[in-house]
Each structure stands twice: as structure tokens, then as C-alpha cells.
Symmetry: C2
């Protein structure tokens, strides 16, 4: 153990194990998680080379091997609980993505939820036994978030009782689905359904794309890998071009909508049913944000405790870089953010499960709010985390740029969350639509409930942008409840500002749509402020659940830092709305510095509490034992360029060059 | 040509070619640049596979081949002007780094500047004929920016008249130098010089690391590649461990300091001489920021003109995504930033050359200011550009994540600039040191000149943080000169705030060093504001040089957008210092929206004016002809995973899996 990091651990003012239990949701959950993790650790089948040393094809190969092994082991161990499966898989995967992920996350669930009984009998055994390996082909080259724009067609031919599937344009080629390129022999294809000369919109069809025995692409199928990406190199994100591919009528997923043998279209009973999955996935992305950020903070903070650099005082030894105020200011607010997002992730998870219970009993009342919240929070947390990971990486200096730090892998695996499952700006605008609608309802005298109740006329003093000094400011910058209050009022102000912008545009005889578009900047800002308020509030609420005094104290410090730092970064908003005054801005700066010093002795303990195993972290810089340099040297020596002492390029180009000059 | 992008070009209100000439520094320079670029284009030796399709070893191999070819071709064509060489090389390299770059950028220049006449006679012919291929080994595993901390030792042994070179610890292993791992047979090693029992600090030594004929590492030399990185995959950044390696006394670079045969150390005459290179490199990085950002903007804006998505108005065709206000708000301020940084880059380049003239005549008076400015601007422009490239990438949705967009390559090649040649936070603090020193000098009644003259007591009304409404605000938000003025006053306020923070810490009996560290957040903020002011000022100054009315008009719009957007993003600072008031914040928001609409018709023309050739851009999304989708499909089909229809993993893992279940 590196002596610096040992000393750090001795400084902690709280019981790390207890905090880990809180993050896990109970001591028994921690125990079970570690049990599952140790299954992977002790398993020789999961010994592997760092994927960073492999070629693309080798990485894909290794990932498929692991996917296949995991299937067998999970059955062998009888691990069936989704959370436990998640835990097992993330230990195997480290910072990399599961090659066959889409089979489990999209193909099987879609079959479970959209097959009619006859289809279930046919497809579930095939998919569960991996005779049929599948993916979900929705996105096209020309269309992502806007589903109605998808161009793939499925035209019913009553003569043969088949659908004829086509990719009519280049832009209609299916593009991006994970596992589509090389792995899958089936795809659930989203296509515009045409029957009896009429288009009935998007429906799902099971298309057999490769021969189930030889794995060769079937006639009319052009399928392949979309090429190298920023990350996701384990995954064969693929393309699929359909050229008059005929599938039987029974391959349309018919639990809800149907096409009769004669071509008669039967509408689904309700559109709300597919809504839930989307909300679930976005809520899970909020948890992913917390997890990715926890990893990045663990690496950067442990390394900052081990790394010594420069001179603070002449003649004295070089200080740990974590002792520089600038380094603390880079990292501790992100550590606070990681804890904040963990609370939000837990809240979203619990709320989703609570509401799902209601939905199963036919009560959809809370779904719109959760839908709006999950969209905005997905965008808010992924954007913040995305930027934060890079701050962590750069705070490790040059070594952060090495793949041995794991930070590049964490970044490239995480950054797609800003785009997939709903592009973030579109998500922010969805939340804004809900906020503006709620605002108008409140204006019309309706009493709002839930998280937007602050938009009720009576519930907040109507805040108006006005000269700052003209308003009395009552906020107590050391009181979290008081800070939650001003975050709320900031959100209220910005929602109102956005709503008024739309109104003004309408008064200038702009159409609804142009008014919306011309207010989009304000709408995104309003959503952002709303989400920021929700995060501060949920983090603060979480503190109420914590009994342990020492842990309560350190988490309160983090929450205060998170809240005050957010005010500093957005001080214009708060000043403008008269929620704080100029002397307070200066007080907050001073207070933030104090909080940084206060957190300093607990910094390493706070990342230890995330309890991310070295195997999962896979970072030389973030090792639990702090023995960075020896291990970096050892890692580097395994680099493929070091497999020979003299690279062939010397003989091919460098030596001949001399004689040519 | 894609019809959308054609239409965009027809909308332009200015002559694109004329703006290109301005950016190049004259029409004849544009002509010459294109001449050089066409040499590469028409050269079959530079036809190559996209490096993204190659393994690490193949990428390195291809890069060395290109390096060797470039050496021959540049001689053949007689291209010797540094700017022209740069132009040729960047056309060959595209978004990738030159494998042998360090030989040219550090090894040769160090020999030129630090060899004594006898050494020159020996080493220059060897290095110029590539018998000796070299690198510059300064950074160690444990030490980067802080040079005094380097641990490598060179101990003089008068008995044999040799230096004994050692890496005494793991952390002292040389780490990161480009070309060190596999390419170089020599390294200039920076080491602590010991002679006659005394340490004389860091000096440079030429160490032969590989046999000049077999290229095998020599005895006592442990050398290799440091392993995969975020980017720079063409480059063999290396490690070097020295184990009692003996080199002749004459291998110490002795133009300035010397060790006599008996071991007597002779001091160098002045320390200022090495100062100039650092300033030069940092100034060049400012230009690199402008270039990288121009590339990213070109890709994102062209793609946004071609991509259609969603519905703005029901029933109407999907709009180009560039018509969404949110997309304009993401990209146009970055376009403005690219133009701003281009002006700054030109200024730094010219100033450096002017001052170098002075220095050669023994006048060092302007060097400290340029040194401080280049440190801060290096940090300011690289941080801003770094974040901006990722905004550009994400603004392209999923396709930005594909390596075919080139945006991942541009990012990973650029991001090290935030760390190398002086870590950005350290750079900001260097500039802050100069600012605080200047501030104190002004306080003491000294009259400052140059860019910090705004710190003179008399030159600015002393700004104090105070209630915003209490001060008269005279800024005209449509007048650039007026905006430059408030940027200046913001910088003055923040420099003063930082200086006062130090003073307060000292009054609390803190040491100088602790006072400095406890004010570091404020110091970085002050530097940032200073640099921001300089950028706005230089961009505004640049407008004065432009005669063409149409170009003057569009660049003025960009400058106004840049300035106002910076105020919005930092509105807290401006409000706090009473430089703007609350109604003005709202006016600025409205004005920014107007500027976005105003720029809309010129957006594509403004990126066209950067005139970055498709070959150099290497982006499917950013193609000049806008034919994105067809080319993306074609690119993907070349992906290595598509070289066979069925990947071997199917036979190895997927098929066997079925029978095991």
C-alpha cells in the first residue's frame, strides 16, 4: 500500500463501510454484491488481456466470448434477479460494453411485451436458447430521435400473406443497432406499415437476417458493421439494407396492432403502453451517470493523493497535488455531484417501480410527470457527467491521456448517453413542454401537484427580473433548505421567462411552431434550472434519511458544496432574479473555499465508499493500493508495440531513407 | 453536389475567396498554400487507408512510411520555409500526428541552439541525414511541468571523462517523449548534473539509445512504447530507463554551461535564452486552437445544413437541423470563437516575430509580457476549443460518434494541448503572477504599458463589487468598443479581487505561499478574464484592418456574437461589478437570438472560407459536396469487421453455445 493513500484513509472522519451500505441500499445488498463480484474475480475464464492492447476484431472476439460465457455462468449460478445480473455483468465488462447487450436489453424484452400468445410460443424458446440471436433495428442513417420520419417500409401482400420489407433510400438503411453487424441472425425491424394502399405508421417486425445454421446473410439482406467509432469497439453496431425481403404475416409483432390475412389493419387499443420502457431506460441512464462519475472521481482523487508535484514552499517536499486549491476546486464539486446523482438515481429507480405498480393497476396519473422528469434528468445528468469525466481526466495531467488510466475508456463508453435514447436537447425541450404546460395550467387557476407545484401562483412570490439591490434577500447560504428554495425560485423565474418569450413571439404573429423554436434557448435554460433544482432537492432530501452522525455531516458538506457551486456557476441567474445579492456572491466564494478544506481529509474515503473494485475500475491511476508508477511501467511493457525490440518499419523505411539522401 | 448545401452557398452575402485570403494573410499566400496542398493530393505515394481501419502497429508503420516519404519529397520540391513545410505536412497528416515530429520540432532545434561549434560539426550532419534520429526526453513518469523535480542523474566521472546516466527510481523513468519508444536511436536527455560532489541542476545530454545500424537498444538502456493512448496512435510515445549508461563528456550540450575535463562546472551566462522557444511553442498552440476549432465547425455546420430532422410545422418537410434555434445557439458562437482565435493566432505569430527581432538586438523588454500572455492564452484557447470540439461532435447526433465524422480524431489529437507545454491551470497561474505583479506596481505608482495598462490607477475607474442597481451603466451592447471596455473592467475587477484575497490571507498570518495557494481559484478566474478581454480586443482590432464592406459586416456580427455570448455566460461577473444591469442582461439574450438569425444565411460560407480541403478534413459529415449518406455507407463497408461475411467468433462461441444450453 502506498503510504500517502494509507495516511489519507486514516484521516477519514466517518465509517466508509457504512456509507457504502447506504449507497448500495443496505448492508445485505453490499454483501450480496461483493459475493457476485467475487464469482467473477475468482473465475479463470474471465482472465483476459486489456482490450486496449487488441485489434478491433480481437476486441469483438473477446467480447463475444465473454458474452457467451456469461450466459452459461449466470444459469449455472442461478443468478436471475435483474440487479444481480447487472452487477455480475458490470464486473465482467469493466469499462467496456457487452457485445450481445441488445439481445437482452431490447430483443428479448420486445418479444416478451409485443408477441401475441402464438408468437410467444414460437419465438421465446428460440431467443432464450440463442438459436435466434437478435437486435432492435430502429434508427436509420437519416433518422434518429424523430421516429415518424423513419423510411423503412413493410408492405403487406395478401396474395402470399407476406410483408415485403424495403429500404427505399440510402438514408433509410438501418444504422447503429448494437449487435446488428455480425452477431445477430434476427432483427426486430421498425418499419412503416402499408396495407390496402394505406400507411399505418411505425410497427415492429421480426426479420431473419442470417441463416441460422451457416450465419450467412440471407437473400435481399445487406448487413455489416458500421465501422470504428469513438468507443464501443466491442460492439458491432451495424447497418441493414432490405431489398424486397419477404417475411410471413406472422412476423409482425401482433399483441396490440394486427394485420388480418386479407390485409385489414386492426389498431392497437392504447398508445401509452410503450411509454413505460422509455421512462425506464432514461431513469437507468441517470443511474449510469452517477456510476460513471463515481468511477472517474475515484481515479482522479486517488491519483491526486499519490501524485506529488511542484513546490508549494521552497525547500519543502513536493506536495500531493490534492493539496492545491485549484485541484480541489476541480474535483471536489464533481465528487459532490457524484453523490448528488447517486441520490437522484436511487429516487428515479424507486419512483419508477412505485409508478409501475400503479400503472399495472391502470393508474397512469403520475406517468406524465415521471416522463418529463426522466427526459430532463437524463439530459442534465449525462451532460454534466460527460464534461466532468473529462475534467477528471485532465486533472490527472498527461497520465490521464494514457489508456492505462481508464479515463478515456470511461469517457467514450459514457458519452453516447448524451445522444441515445433521446438526444439531450430534444429531451430538455420535452421537459420544457411539460413545464410550460404546467405553468399555463397554474396561470389558469389549476392547482398543480408533484414536483412542479412550485409553479402554482400562490406557492411562490412571483419573481421578476429586476435590479438586484431593490429586493430584500433572505437566503441563508449555510442552510440547505434555504438554498433549495432559491433554486426553486430560479426555476420558476426561468420557466416564466420562457413562457413569456413564447407569448411575445405569438403577439408578433408568429405561428405556435415558430414561437416555440424562437424561444428554444430559453426553454432549454428553464428545463436545466428545473432539473438543477430537482437534483439539489433530492440530494437534500436524502440527508434526512441518514442516521449516522459522521456520515450525515460529511454528506451535508458535499450537498452544501454542490448547491453553492451551482449558484456560483450560474450567479447571473440568481443575481438577476434577485435571489442573492452581490455581497452574498462574495461570501459564497469564501464559503466554497472553506468547504474544500473541510472535505480534504475525507476525499479519499468518500471515493473509497463507492467501493468500485480494481478489476471493474481497470485503472492504473485509480488503484486501491495507490501503487501507480510500478504498475504503469508493467502495463506499458505489455503494449503490442513492445512485442519486438525493433519494429519492422525501421528496416522498411528508416534505414533505406539514409541511403536515399 | 447536395442541393441543400448548394442553396446555402448561394445565400452568402460576401465573397468567400476574399475572406479566405484574409485568413491566409494575403491572396498570394492562398495561392501558394493550394499549390502545396495539390502536390500532396496528386501524389500517389500518399494514397492511404483510413488509419481508423488499422491496428496500432499498422498505424505506426504507415505513419513512419509517410514521415520518411515527406523528408524525401520536401527536399525534392525544395520546400524549406517553415510555414510551407507546416502546410505540406498538415495536408499529409490530416487529423493525425506526425510520427517523427519530435525529431524536427525538438531534437534538431535543440542541437541548433545548444551545441557548441565542435558539437555542431559532429551532430548536425548526423541528424540532418537521419543517421541519428532523435527525440527530446524531458518528462518523467513522476514529473511533468515542474522541471526542478526531475530525477534523472548525470554524474561526471573525471577518471574516464564520462557522464554516468541513471534513472534512480521508477518515477524517474523518462515517459511520454514522442518517437522515443521505437523510432529514435538518440535522445536528448534532461538530467540533474552532478560533478565534484555537487548538483548543478538540469542540463541536456545526447544519449545514444539504439545501435545505429541494428537499431537494437544499447546496454543499460531499457526503452519501449508507453502503450495505447486516447489518441496519438501514430506516435510511439516512449519510456527510457537508464542503468549506468556512460556517455562521453562531449555529449553534454555545451554552448552555454560546460563541464571541464577535470569536472569543473562553468555556469551559463544567462537564463533567459531558453525562454523564447517556450513562448514560441505556446503561441503556436493558440494557432492550433483556431485550426482545430475551424475544422470542427466546418464539419458540424455543413452537416447541419444537410441533415433534416423532425417536424417544425405539421405536414411540412423536415427542416434542416441548422434551422433549429438550439442548433444555431450551439454552433454559431463556436464559429465566432474560431474567427476570434484566428485573429489571436495571427497576432501572437506576428508579435512573436517582432519581439524575436528585438531580442536578437538584445532588447528583452517585451518578453515578460509576451511570456505571460502566451501562457494564459494557450490555456484559455485550448480549454475553450477542447470543450467546443465536443459540442460540435455531439451536435452531429449519433453520426458524430462515428470515426467517419473525424470529430473523435480531431478531439483526441487536440486535447493534449491542454496538458503539454505547460499544464493549463499552471499556465493560468503564471499569467496571474504577472497580473498581480503588475497590479502591485501600478498601486505603487508605476506607470504600466502594454496590454496590462488597464491596471493603472488612473486608467480605470476603480471598480468595486457593489449592488448592481446603485451604479450608472453606460455600456452600449451594440458597440464593440464599449464591450471591449467592460471586458477590460471585468478583468481589472477580478485581478483586484485576487490581489486582495492574497492580501487578506497574508493579514491572517499565512505565508506568501499559502496565501497564494488559498487564492488560486481567484487567480485563475482573473487570468481567465484577462485572456477573455484580450481575445475580444484583438478580434475587434482585427475588424479595423478589413476594407471589404460585406466581409467587415459579417465579421462584425461574429465579433458581436462572441462578445455578447461571453457576457451571457459570465453574466454574474458583469452584474456583480456593475458593468451591466438586469434589463441589459435580458436585452443581450434577445440580441443574441437576432444575431443567430442574421448569421444563418452565411453560416456555410463562413466555414467554407476556412478552405479546409476534404483530404485534410477527412470527414464524411463535413464533405464539401454535402453527399454524406452515400459516402458514409461506402466508408462503413471498408470496416475491417466486414472483410468476411461471418466472423470467426460465430463458429468459436455462438454456435457451440446452443448445444451447451
Amino acid at each position: 500500500m502506498n503510504p500517502d493513500i494509507l495516511k489519507e484513509r486514516q484521516k477519514a472522519t466517518f465509517d466508509v463501510e457504512k456509507l457504502t451500505n447506504i449507497l448500495d441500499g443496505g448492508a445485505e445488498k453490499t454483501t450480496r454484491r461483493r459475493e457476485i463480484e467475487s464469482m467473477v474475480l475468482s473465475d479463470p475464464d474471465f482472465k483476459e488481456e486489456d482490450p486496449n492492447f487488441l485489434s478491433r476484431s480481437e476486441r469483438y472476439d473477446q467480447a463475444i466470448r465473454k458474452s457467451a460465457q456469461m450466459i452459461l455462468k449466470l444459469r449455472e449460478y442461478g443468478i436471475a434477479d435483474p440487479e444481480e445480473i447487472y452487477c455480475y455483468k458490470s464486473m465482467v465488462g469493466g469499462n467496456h460494453i457487452e457485445a450481445m447487450g441488445l439481445h437482452f436489453v431490447m430483443f428479448l424484452p420486445t418479444l416478451y411485451s409485443q408477441c401475441d400468445p402464438q408468437q410467444s410460443r414460437k419465438w421465446l424458446p428460440l431467443a432464450e436458447s440463442f438459436q435466434a440471436v437478435g437486435t432492435y433495428a430502429q434508427t436509420e442513417m437519416g433518422h434518429g430521435t424523430h421516429l415518424r420520419g423513419l423510411e423503412t417500409t413493410a408492405t403487406y401482400d395478401p396474395a402470399t400473406q407476406e410483408f415485403v420489407m424495403n429500404s427505399p433510400t440510402v438514408s433509410s438503411i438501418k444504422w447503429w443497432p448494437g449487435g446488428l453487424g455480425k452477431t445477430s441472425n434476427h432483427a426486430i425491424v421498425l418499419a412503416q406499415l402499408y396495407t390496402q394502399g394505406k400507411c399505418h405508421g411505425l410497427h415492429a417486425f421480426i426479420v431473419n437476417i442470417r441463416d441460422m445454421s451457416t450465419h450467412q446473410p440471407l437473400p435481399g439482406i445487406v448487413v455489416g458493421d458500421i465501422g470504428p467509432k469513438f468507443g464501443f469497439n466491442e460492439v458491432d453496431n451495424g447497418f441493414l439494407k432490405l431489398e424486397n425481403v419477404r417475411i410471413p404475416r406472422e412476423n409482425m409483432l401482433m399483441k396490440y396492432a394486427k394485420v388480418e390475412p386479407d390485409g385489414t389493419y386492426v389498431k392497437p387499443p392504447s398508445a401509452k403502453l410503450t411509454y413505460g420502457t422509455m421512462v425506464f431506460v432514461r431513469s437507468m441512464i441517470v443511474r449510469e451517470s452517477a456510476r460513471a462519475l463515481s468511477k472517474a472521481c475515484t481515479i482522479a482523487i486517488r491519483y491526486s493523493a499519490v501524485r506529488h508535484q511542484s513546490e508549494m514552499r521552497p525547500g519543502e517536499p513536493e506536495p500531493q497535488i490534492i493539496d492545491y486549491q485549484t485541484q480541489q476546486y476541480k474535483l471536489f464539486p464533481l465528487l459532490a455531484m457524484a453523490y448528488a446523482f447517486s441520490s437522484v438515481g436511487q429516487y428515479m429507480y424507486q419512483t419508477y417501480h412505485r409508478i409501475t405498480g400503479d400503472i399495472n393497476q391502470g393508474d397512469f396519473s403520475e406517468l406524465p410527470e415521471l416522463h418529463a422528469l426522466s427526459a430532463g434528468l437524463k439530459a442534465f445528468t449525462t451532460w454534466e457527467t460527460n464534461a466532468a469525466i473529462e475534467v477528471c481526466r485532465m486533472s490527472c495531467g498527461g497520465h490521464g491521456y494514457s489508456r492505462s488510466s481508464a479515463l478515456p475508456d470511461i469517457y467514450v463508453s459514457f458519452t453516447p448517453t448524451c445522444t441515445y435514447e433521446g438526444e439531450n436537447t430534444v429531451m430538455m425541450l420535452q421537459t420544457a413542454r411539460y413545464l410550460v404546460k404546467s405553468y399555463r395550467q397554474a396561470k389558469e387557476g389549476q392547482q398543480l401537484s408533484g414536483i412542479v407545484s412550485y409553479l402554482n401562483e400562490a406557492d411562490h412570490r412571483r419573481v421578476q427580473p429586476q435590479p438586484v439591490a431593490a429586493r430584500p434577500t433572505v437566503v441563508d447560504i449555510n442552510d440547505l433548505a434555504s438554498l433549495v428554495e432559491i433554486y426553486k425560485l430560479r426555476a420558476a423565474t426561468l420557466v416564466e421567462l420562457a413562457a413569456k418569450s413564447i407569448q411575445q413571439e405569438l403577439q408578433r404573429r408568429k405561428s405556435q411552431e415558430d414561437a416555440w423554436n424562437n424561444s428554444a434557448i430559453d426553454l432549454v435554460r428553464a428545463s436545466d434550472a428545473h432539473c438543477h433544482y430537482v437534483v439539489v432537492k433530492l440530494f437534500t432530501d436524502k440527508l434526512g434519511e441518514i442516521g449516522d452522525t459522521a456520515i450525515h455531516s460529511v454528506l451535508s458538506t458535499l450537498a452544501l458544496l454542490y448547491a453553492l457551486n451551482g449558484i456560483t456557476k450560474n450567479s447571473g441567474d440568481f443575481l438577476q432574479a434577485g435571489l442573492i445579492n452581490v455581497p452574498q456572491v462574495l461570501q459564497i466564494s469564501v464559503r466554497i473555499k472553506e468547504l474544500l478544506s473541510q472535505l480534504r481529509p475525507n476525499a479519499v474515503a468518500l471515493v473509497d465508499a463507492f467501493d468500485i473494485h480494481d478489476k471493474k475500475l481497470n485503472s492504473v491511476l485509480g488503484r486501491y493500493d495507490g501503487n501507480v508508477y510500478e504498475n504503469m511501467f508493467e502495463w506499458a511493457r505489455r503494449s503490442p508495440l513492445n512485442s519486438t525490440e525493433v519494429h519492422e518499419s525501421f528496416h522498411k523505411y528508416l534505414k533505406p531513407l539514409r541511403s536515399k539522401l
